[in-house]
């Protein structure tokens, strides 16, 4: 099957791994990721203000293009996913906002018709974890892995609707699917500090440390994430266990990690 794909700015630069492995793994799983042509940066964070229009146009354009091909829009970066999904929701529910946005759109109005999936949702709901399990060639059996959701994947739940925001299992089920043992810990859905790393590195450090300590206390040997900024904050603030993108593990489990050497 073919889906539209929005990689996002960071995935073209600092987080190439997140992107490259996502594409490789998708091929093995029978999904073709068709990159949106001329996509623009989503802006990193969603402004909840109803009169902020210009900052959301790039997301709407991407959504509209996917819609014009009758494809769902798949994202892999947590931040892009959050922004695009919330923008889509605003287009569906806030008529006044939608009409302002549509003033900027060439050829035809958009009202939130496109479906937005995170790559993880695609694995769970479209491909199916059972299918993933069947295609695993390098199992991570015995490895204790902690999923780090951060804040953007799950919240606000009324819009994201990915999983139970307080007791999620989508990443844990992914960890099980690649043969490893998921480690559940309370801080997995707490914020790492995000962009505050620029302004107040101390606050980012405090939050990230709490996450790392909590994961380690629960017995984690490795942390996986879907967000480049989460990964940066955790590593920068002294994670002494590996923090990797979930797509990297997926590619390794499916036996296609080596193919990407040299990117």
């Amino acid at each position: 099957m073919k889906v539209s794909y929005f990689p996002g700015c960071t995935l073209k630069n600092k987080a190439k791994d997140l992107d490259v492995y996502a594409r490789k793994a998708a091929e093995v799983l029978g999904v073709t990721l068709e990159e949106i042509e001329n996509w623009q940066c989503c802006g990193g964070v969603f402004s909840t203000a109803r009169d902020e229009v210009a900052t959301k146009l790039s997301s709407v354009r991407a959504l509209k293009e996917a819609g014009s091909k009758n494809q769902p829009l798949v994202t892999v970066c947590s931040a892009c996913h959050n922004v695009i999904k919330q923008t889509n929701h605003a287009m569906q529910t806030d008529k006044e906002f939608a009409s302002k946005v549509n003033n900027y759109m060439a050829d035809g109005a958009y009202a939130g018709e496109t479906e937005v999936y995170h790559y993880l949702e695609m694995l769970r709901d479209v491909v199916g974890y059972e299918e993933v399990k069947k295609k695993v060639v390098n199992s991570f059996k015995g490895k204790k892995i902690a999923a780090y959701y951060g804040c953007l994947l799950l919240r606000p739940n009324g819009v994201m609707k990915m999983d139970d925001p307080e007791n999620p299992s989508i990443m844990e089920d992914f960890i099980s699917a690649i043969g490893a043992t998921p480690v559940v810990y309370a801080k997995r859905n707490e914020c790492c500090g995000g962009y505050i790393a620029m302004e107040s590195p101390e606050l980012a450090k405090k939050n990230s440390n709490a996450v790392i300590e909590n994961a380690k206390a629960a017995g984690a040997e490795m942390i996986i994430t879907a967000c480049p900024l989460c990964r940066y904050n955790l590593i920068k603030n002294g994670a002494d266990i590996p923090v990797v993108y979930f797509t990297e593990l997926l590619a390794e489990a499916l036996g296609v990690k080596e193919d990407t050497n040299g990117k």
């Binding site: 139970d164 307080e166 810990y185 309370a186 707490e190 909590n214």
Partner: protein, 664 residues
């Protein structure tokens, strides 16, 4: 032609404030059939009723229209007035010019205009009214109580004391309900078992009471005074009348790893079990989901050790049909699931527990024999955090919490905190609250004692996150008074989970055609004046099925429900509703359409002889309505293709006359 009198009520200024009552009574004077029209300040008062009575006599009225409040309020009053003056009470029609007119419209002009139209419709209807006489039906002098908690127990005992037989249906193997699981009761701190178990024994020994435990109601037919109820007795694989409750089987049973629901899964029981020592009836029950004999046909140990020979692996579910005059719903409550509140880490740590679990942990008959220890490692907790309002007063998400206040949590949390400090003075206790709500006799004094005498730390604020780390629970909370975020390393966190009606209530309400609110609590017939009756006649409410309440309130409501039941069962006959369907047999073609739609089976067919125009006779099949069974919904009147079926009091001609009057 009728001689109609019109009586317009001012209801003080309730009506007269927005409706020109003088104009209404003047306007209605000219309606067909109206021979008298007046208005008065309070028609429902004695003086007002006298005006009606006098007018009936003086003007030889054959029908009256009262323009006043809703018929749901005073229709019965004015019917009695009419009857007292010798007029058939069903010759009274009410025009609702208060609730549906003066109270919802703002200006005099529109209010008056509408009131006149509503009055005209009522006059048009009463012109077509015919005197009706209600039928009578007998009363089965037996009551059914559904639910065997403290509410059901008290209701049953009170009814039985008045000399009427009562059956209790309880879905669990024993009666006792939630109260049996509690440790102490607020605000007196007497032990729940000490006051409940004697009542349970009373129930067992009362010859007017039968207990159907491990049973549920599966079908309810009939109506007030004459309910036909089917009760399903689940197979317990033990002959109830033979088992002595000695407990030998439970000791020998090799399957001992069954989560014990009585202790909320905090310890295990055997596959054959007696829920607790004081269970009533004290007989064993085999859990078919775990018994090796029932699952695999291998074992049979319990049958071997049972000296009485009570074990019967072949027992089947049994259905019992019984007639009842009244039904009391006492289905109670449960704490809500904590699954959606995992910011408190209930699913992540055994040391995060609900308040009901805390009751079992401190109960001498509980899994720890009353020793307060952490479920994870059996160690004594030194710091305990209580979180109030978990899922209560939560309007953000219906899937998560409940919008209402669960009412009992403030008090039981104060009790838990106080008892903990009393028994374990080395324990630091924090209670996070939004508001402490303690209306009730000696309640606020109780809460203050917890703070002032026992040194419980009450903090206004909510807990935001609980993080299990190592053997601690890191509690992050706000202290709104100090304007601080607190971080407490706790050993035990206790969540005051919201309470919700038992899940069995919803299907039961459907069977009983009793109404429920959006939270699945049963609605009362009147929130203030008829708090223990359901709007469905013959169905009464007892305990938390009607709304959150504590034990004293439950017991008083249980007694009130019992007195209502006794009042009903003391009657030999009930006067029925005369507004029932009837068929014009000359028009009926015997097609069975009406019979098929009747929800009560009130319509049957008879072969009747009819004289034809040519002096021959012909036998035709025609519908006959049983007025004692018909409830007067009118479904048949619409189904009838020939127009033979009509409804007394709401005849097609009457409703059409109303439509015409409104659309004039």
């Amino acid at each position: 032609m009728q001689r109609v009198g019109v009586f317009v009520c001012w209801c003080g200024s309730n009506i007269a404030g927005t409706v020109d009552v003088q104009a209404v009574s003047e306007a209605l004077k000219n309606e067909p059939g109206v021979v008298f029209s007046t208005n008065y300040q309070y028609m429902c008062s004695q003086a007002g009723q006298d005006i009606i009575k006098d007018a009936i006599a003086e003007h030889k009225l054959t029908g009256i229209v009262v323009c006043s409040c809703s018929p749901r309020m005073h229709e019965a009053t004015f019917r009695k007035t009419a009857a007292a003056a010798g007029l058939n009470p069903y010759m009274v029609e009410i025009a609702n010019i208060r609730e549906q007119c003066s109270w919802v419209h703002k200006d005099m002009l529109t209010g008056t205009e509408k009131a006149i139209i509503l009055g005209k419709a009522a006059v048009a209807k009463v012109n077509l009214n015919a005197p009706l006489t209600p039928g009578e039906s007998p009363v089965t002098k037996r009551a059914l109580v559904i639910g065997g908690g403290i509410a059901g127990i008290q209701t049953a005992l009170d009814i039985a004391d008045a000399g009427f037989p009562v059956d209790i249906v309880e879905k669990k193997p024993t009666i006792g309900g939630k109260m049996a699981q509690l440790d102490k009761t607020f605000p007196t701190l007497d032990c729940a078992a000490c006051i409940l178990t004697p009542k349970m024994v009373d129930v067992a020994q009362n010859e007017n009471i039968r207990i159907f435990s491990y049973s549920e109601v599966t079908e309810v037919k009939g109506f007030v005074g004459n309910f036909d109820v089917t009760i399903k007795k689940h197979a317990r694989f033990v002959k109830e009348d033979i088992c002595t409750g000695c407990g030998a089987c439970t000791e020998k049973c090799p399957m001992k790893k069954v989560p014990n629901e009585f202790n909320l899964g905090m310890d295990n029981r055997s596959a054959i079990y007696i829920p607790f020592a004081q269970a009533v009836p004290k007989v064993a029950t085999i859990d078919p989901n775990y018994c090796n004999m029932l699952k695999k046909g291998k074992c049979g140990l319990c049958a071997k050790v049972c000296a009485a020979g009570a074990i019967d692996y072949t027992q089947k579910d049994e259905y019992i049909s019984e007639k009842y005059g009244a039904i009391v719903v006492a289905t109670g409550f449960n704490p809500i699931s904590m699954d959606k509140f995992d910011e408190f880490a209930y699913n992540q740590s055994k040391d995060v527990i609900t308040s009901l679990e805390f009751e079992r942990l401190t109960n001498a008959a509980g899994p720890t024999a009353g020793k307060l220890v952490r479920p994870s490692d059996g160690k004594h907790p030194h710091t305990i955090v209580f979180v109030q309002c978990v899922g209560s007063r939560c309007s953000a998400c219906a899937e998560k919490g409940k919008e209402y206040c669960s009412k009992i949590c403030c008090m039981y949390t104060a009790k838990h905190a106080m008892l903990t400090r009393d028994k374990y003075p080395d324990t630091e206790v924090y209670v996070f609250y939004i508001d402490v709500r303690t209306p009730g006799k000696n309640f606020d004094e109780f809460y203050r004692r917890a703070v002032e005498e026992y040194g419980v730390n009450y903090i206004k604020g909510m807990v935001g996150k609980v993080t299990p780390e190592g053997d601690k629970l890191k509690v992050q909370a706000s202290d709104l008074i100090a304007n601080k975020q607190l971080h407490i390393d706790a050993d035990l966190v206790v969540l005051a989970a919201a309470i919700e009606p038992d899940k069995s209530a919803r299907p039961l309400a459907t069977m009983l055609t009793a109404s429920m609110d959006t939270n699945d609590f049963f609605t009362e017939a009147h929130p203030k004046l008829r708090p223990v009756e359901s709007p469905t006649a013959g169905v009464f409410l007892s305990g938390a099925c009607q709304g959150p309440k504590d034990i004293p309130e439950t017991v008083s409501q249980a007694g009130a429900a019992a007195s209502k039941v006794i009042g009903l069962l003391a009657k030999d006959k009930l006067t029925g509703n005369p507004c029932v369907a009837h068929s014009n047999e000359l028009m009926c073609n015997g097609c069975s359409s009406c019979e098929r739609v009747c929800p009560y089976g009130a319509i049957s067919y008879e072969d009747k002889e009819f004289r034809m125009p040519d002096r021959t006779t012909k036998i035709r099949r025609v519908a006959v309505v049983n007025p004692a069974v018909c409830q007067g919904c009118g479904a048949c009147t619409v189904a009838c293709p020939s127009g033979a079926m009509d409804l007394k009091g709401f005849a097609s001609a009457q409703i059409i006359a109303e439509v015409d009057a409104i659309c004039k």
